[in-house]
């Protein structure tokens, strides 16, 4: 029996890797995606195009605006001289932000503080808008802090000292790239395993397999093991790229990461096999994979936090193996976690793996029997 399964594994791997195009599809796209998304998927906001609308043009107002010009985050695109221009600049997306200083700015500042600086923001992308308002607040707070002692007024009572653990510069790449380790592995293993049975069914080779002395269990194992090997290979590839290309700090336990991702791959392979054995055609299998993949990625915490979702949806995410895999990869990568910290998510992943693999075997037996 071991010999027969081994033969199946070799056959399956050959089917994937012998064809040049299919080999490329398994190896190329995940790497290309890792590189592109690793660079592109960033919530960091920089080079914010803005315009200044200074109606007063006094020493103080120029001082304040100069702080924005000197900032790394903002890029001055021009000056504005009327409300009309202001509306146009924002409507046309020429700038994301206009800093408006009114005519009585310095009079207010000296006679009846606070003086107001108006900030007009394009809210079309609400996340960017929120973050850049935070930056504006910081620059103005710094201006205030240095203005007070200069004018003989006591300094602000306390300065907020924010400090970030695990990711001191708050680089979102450190958050996204370890996330891609789970996400891309999920995509590849669902797509390869999810289509495999349906492809053999369409090509008629499934019938050939079934007339051999192999039992359904052996055939299922013959699909699971190569899928597992491919997934772990993919994990290694992406892991190396994350460390050596993106220089993401890896401070945790490598073994814990691999064990966690092994449970994860088994879970996804099980889901892929169920989809594959239910579908009659490749098209249906692909559709099924999609029905699984897109919610799995969206509802995993990969790009947006699970905590922001409605409660019902949050409960739903407990069925999603990617949710747990992301906890493992991020905590091991950035927080330096080992088995003692990350074992809890292993349990649901192992349960999902066991459930889906047994389910796949059951479905497969019924479908072919």
């Amino acid at each position: 029996m071991r010999h027969r399964i081994f033969g199946l594994i070799v056959k399956e791997l050959l089917a994937l890797f012998r064809d040049k195009r299919s080999r490329f599809v398994v190896i190329g796209p995940p790497l290309i995606q890792l590189i592109i998304f690793g660079y592109a998927a960033t919530f960091d906001v920089n080079r914010i195009p803005y315009a200044s609308y200074d109606e007063e043009n006094s020493g103080v107002s120029r001082d304040l605006l100069a702080r924005f010009e000197g900032s790394q985050v903002f890029r001055l695109r021009g000056r504005i001289h009327s409300d009309d221009e202001l509306a146009k600049a924002i409507d046309r997306k020429e700038v994301l932000l206009v800093l408006h200083i009114g005519r009585n700015f310095s009079r207010d500042l000296f006679a009846s503080p606070p003086a107001r600086m108006q900030v007009i923001v394009d809210g079309r992308n609400s996340n960017t808008a929120g973050i850049l308002l935070g930056y504006v607040g910081q620059i103005v707070a710094n201006f205030n802090a240095s203005w007070l002692p200069l004018h003989g007024i006591k300094p602000p009572p306390a300065v907020l000292q924010p400090r970030a653990w695990f990711n001191p510069n708050l680089e979102s790449r450190w958050f996204i790239v370890p996330g891609l380790l789970g996400t891309l592995t999920l995509v590849v293993s669902i797509m390869t395993v999810g289509l495999s049975v349906a492809r053999e069914r369409e090509a008629g080779t499934l019938d050939q397999l079934l007339v051999t002395p192999m039992s359904p269990l052996e055939i299922v194992l013959g699909k699971v093991i190569p899928g597992f090997l491919v997934a772990m290979g993919e994990v290694t590839l992406i892991f190396l790229a994350a460390i050596f290309w993106f220089r993401i700090p890896f401070v945790g336990n490598l073994f814990a990461l691999y064990v966690g991702l092994a449970f994860f791959s088994l879970a996804t392979i099980g889901v892929g096999l169920i989809i594959s054995s239910i579908s009659m055609t490749q098209q249906q299998a692909l559709l099924g994979s999609f029905f699984f993949l897109s919610p799995a990625i969206v509802l995993s915490g990969f790009s947006t936090p699970i905590r922001n979702m409605p409660e019902l949806v949050q409960w739903l995410t407990f069925l999603n193996p990617l949710r747990f895999a992301l906890v493992v990869t991020r905590r091991v990568f950035l927080e330096g976690a080992g088995f003692a910290e990350v074992w809890p998510p292993f349990i649901p992943m192992a349960l999902i793996a066991a459930g889906s693999l047994l389910g796949a075997w059951w479905v497969f037996r019924r479908r072919v029997g």
């Binding site: 919530f43 503080p113 900030v119 907020l160 490749q282």
Partner: protein, 373 residues
């Protein structure tokens, strides 16, 4: 190149029958968009509310109590008190709280007056975006409390310059309003590319394409017969998506409907064109579907400006986004939905979409003609 309305009509009928008999294509065309919109609409939100924050007060007094009360009132935070910083750090490493506010030493009225009251905020930086938003929210709560404290204690106002922010198009900064249009883009990308990629690749794989080509129909007739019915299906999906975005998620539709559908039509043509191209080049359902997913779904999700700001991406990647039809469609939809008919944004993006559509359809036509010979 010959073009006979009769033959095209017959091909369309064949295609319709095929669609009707294969529930999968109706699934992709109509059910998938509705389902995706539901998942995305409810699943994606960048509005961080009630963030669990640990509060450690070393010397409790009325001042610290009033500040913590201010934190509690904010809709952004849910404070949990801890006895010591050690316990709080322990809680943060078990991800019970996302941040710790540590009021240590002399956080008293006298301390505030002398200007050295220590106030430290420790955030969990793993999710950098949430951490940054959290710092911003905290800054807001802090300066609000300072102003209030200054007013009640009769001290002079401490802030020389105040920021008054006006957010256009989405005053409450509800991320759902800007995400709903983006979700439509992802929907349409998927629908277009998947529909055609699978359909044509399947015909090549089964050999029915050769059978079709041996009849007197021309290549362009075959291509149009593939595009026509799926175009109709895709626009149906678009109507469903727009209806749900407005009806269910309350996205405001400020611009006009016809501009929206014009943009959608051009975008659908370009993504159907890309699907045709993929399936003509790869000719196997397996490969075509892999490539369709890789070339459509993830780029539309990550590189289109739907969630991540294009302006902040590194130069080469920003250039690359110009090759994606989704980029133009996202810009169009966000403007049409939230800002209205701003022609200076709409026209260039429409032009770019038409260019992409004709490019993909043109290459697909050339490729399939060559494969004939």
């Amino acid at each position: 190149m010959s073009f006979e309305p009769m033959r095209l009509g017959a091909l369309w009928r064949k295609e319709w029958i095929q669609i009707r008999r294969d529930p999968a294509s109706i699934g992709i065309g109509v059910v998938l968009p509705a389902l995706l919109l539901l998942i995305f609409g409810y699943g994606i939100s960048l509005d961080a509310l009630r963030l669990p924050i640990g509060v450690v007060v070393e010397k409790p007094n009325p001042l610290t109590a009033s500040f913590v009360a201010g934190l509690e009132e904010s809709r952004y935070f849910a404070p949990h008190p801890y006895g010591s910083i050690g316990v709080a750090e322990e809680a943060m490493s078990r991800t019970k709280v996302e941040a710790i506010l540590w009021l240590w030493g002399d956080f008293t009225r006298r301390g505030l007056r002398e200007g050295n009251a220590p106030l430290s905020l420790i955030v969990n930086g793993v999710d950098a975006n949430t951490a940054r938003l959290m710092e911003g929210y905290f800054q807001g709560v802090w300066s609000q409390w300072l102003n209030w404290e200054a007013k009640t204690s009769g001290e002079p106002i401490l802030t020389p310059v105040d920021v008054e922010s006006r957010i256009w198009f989405n005053p409450a900064l509800e991320s759902r309003h800007y995400l709903a249009p983006g979700v439509i883009v992802i929907n349409m990308t998927l629908v277009g590319a998947l529909l055609t990629a699978l359909v044509i690749a399947r015909e090549w794989e089964r050999g029915t394409m050769e059978a079709l080509l041996s009849t007197p129909v021309s290549v362009s007739e075959i291509l149009w017969s593939k595009i026509g019915p799926y175009f109709v299906l895709g626009m149906g999906g678009m109507a469903v998506s727009v209806g749900m975005a407005v009806g269910l998620f309350g996205a405001p539709l400020v611009g006009s409907l016809w501009v929206l559908f014009l943009a959608a039509a051009l975008f659908l043509l370009s993504s159907l064109g890309m699907g045709l191209l993929i399936s003509t080049v790869f000719r196997s359902t397996f490969l075509a579907s892999m490539v369709a997913v890789v070339a459509t779904f993830l780029p539309a999700f990550i590189l289109s400006g739907f969630i991540f700001d294009i302006g902040s991406m590194p130069g080469p990647i920003r250039l690359f986004t110009y090759l994606l039809a989704a980029r133009y469609f996202v810009a169009l939809l966000q403007t049409i939905f939230l800002a209205g008919n701003v022609w200076t944004v709409i026209l260039p993006n429409l032009a770019a979409l038409s260019l992409m559509a004709s490019l993909f359809l043109g290459i697909a036509w050339k490729k399939s003609r060559r494969s004939l010979e």
